[in-house]
Amino acid sequence: MTDSRRTGAAPRPPLSVDVLADLHAGALDAKQSAALWAQVNRDPEAQAALAALDGVRQDLKALGDRPVEPMPAHFAAQLDAAIAAEAAKSRPAQPGMAPVVDMAGARRKRNRRMGWAAGILTTAAAAVAVTFVALPGEEAGSPVAQDGATTGETAPMEIEPEDLGASISGLQGKKDYGPLGDEQGLKDCLAEHDIETTQVIGVREVMMSGNEGVAALLAGGEGAHRLRLVIVDPECTTVLTNKSLG
């Protein structure tokens, strides 16, 4: 068969499944294909093999038509956090922070970038669809398994109160509960301040305006926001920040 395909001649019967599959997939040239179809239409066994290949495609199409469960909530939260962090990083610089030679050109470039970026965020949101749907059997607030998640090995991260969004990437996947001990300690702490802990995306010790604290990035913010950043002091007596992001 291989020889006949190389020479361009139509294979002689009996026809192999591979040749029929090539014919079925439209992988042969027009001349070979025409000659083969003439043979196939006289060959019940070849027709049966083609029907089998049709059956395969039907099975595969049925798999594609089958509704797919939305992305699991903890994966969706990670994805949201990563995109939000990237968006925060790409935010245009504050006025006066960088020299801009051609304001019009820079604005055009920025607008184009932000336009496409907004499109990507929209598409990403569509891709993960119902993001924070609690799946049956999934324990609320279960820790997010993630490569690189660390415990007690990160130095306090500086957080700027005016730019909380920039902290998302530094928090994502971190599991440094500091003086709160563990996830339960964090939950207990937040519960004392009537803050519901949905799902912990990342937690670590931070410094904000010279004050020590523990920052927790949680899934589910207010309104359209998908994330919540809560910062408490090390003794959990005061909530320093409680803000929806993303």
């Binding site: 599959a21 079925h24 196939v40």
Partner: protein
């Protein structure tokens, strides 16, 4: 895109990581997008490439056999038992294919992309997509039991399981 990543990688955690890499990469490259193709095609291409990168990395690591049933896709609650069984059988059969065959088949036959779109996404010729799909479908026909004599792969199929009437045909689909 979640479905594409999941079906390509067959592991929810890896699929999630691949999507994350892809969206970050797309976000960073947004300003260089030239609208030569639809943004969804462009994004799918990035997602598929992120999945393929992971596949290649996985191939470079020592093989860890997938569990019999595999994590695959979670069954949708409204599936009937027989639909679930069929889905599992087809998913498992897809796992029998090489990555070279599985990825184009997932894109063309499962996700419904055209051969041309798939070729663009994978960066290979349309003829290569067709021939890889052909090889993969032939193998699936045997694995799924559509062919009654799956060992006769060299030449004649010893008959096949005909699931419906076969009309006289003249030309292939060549999507």
């Amino acid at each position: 895109m979640w479905a594409v990543a999941l079906r390509t990688l067959r592991d929810p955690e890896e699929a999630s990581d691949a999507l994350q890499e892809a969206f970050i990469s797309a976000f960073r490259a947004a300003s260089s997008f030239r609208a030569e193709s639809q943004v969804t095609t462009w994004l799918h291409r990035i997602v598929v490439n992120a999945c393929l990168d992971r596949v290649r990395r996985r191939q470079a690591r020592p093989t860890v056999p997938l569990p019999e049933t595999g994590p695959g896709e979670p069954a949708a609650p409204r599936d009937s038992m027989s639909e679930r069984e069929t889905t599992l059988v087809v998913q498992k059969a897809l796992g029998e294919l090489s990555e070279d065959q599985r990825v184009p088949i997932v894109l063309v036959d499962v996700e419904g992309y055209s051969v041309a779109e798939t070729a663009k996404m994978l960066g290979i010729a349309e003829g290569t997509v067709k021939s890889r799909c052909a090889r993969g479908r032939a193998k699936l026909a045997k694995v799924l039991g559509h062919l009654r004599n799956p060992s006769a792969d060299a030449n004649v199929p010893d008959g096949a399981v005909v699931r419906r009437d076969v009309p006289a045909r003249r030309h292939g689909e060549g999507r």
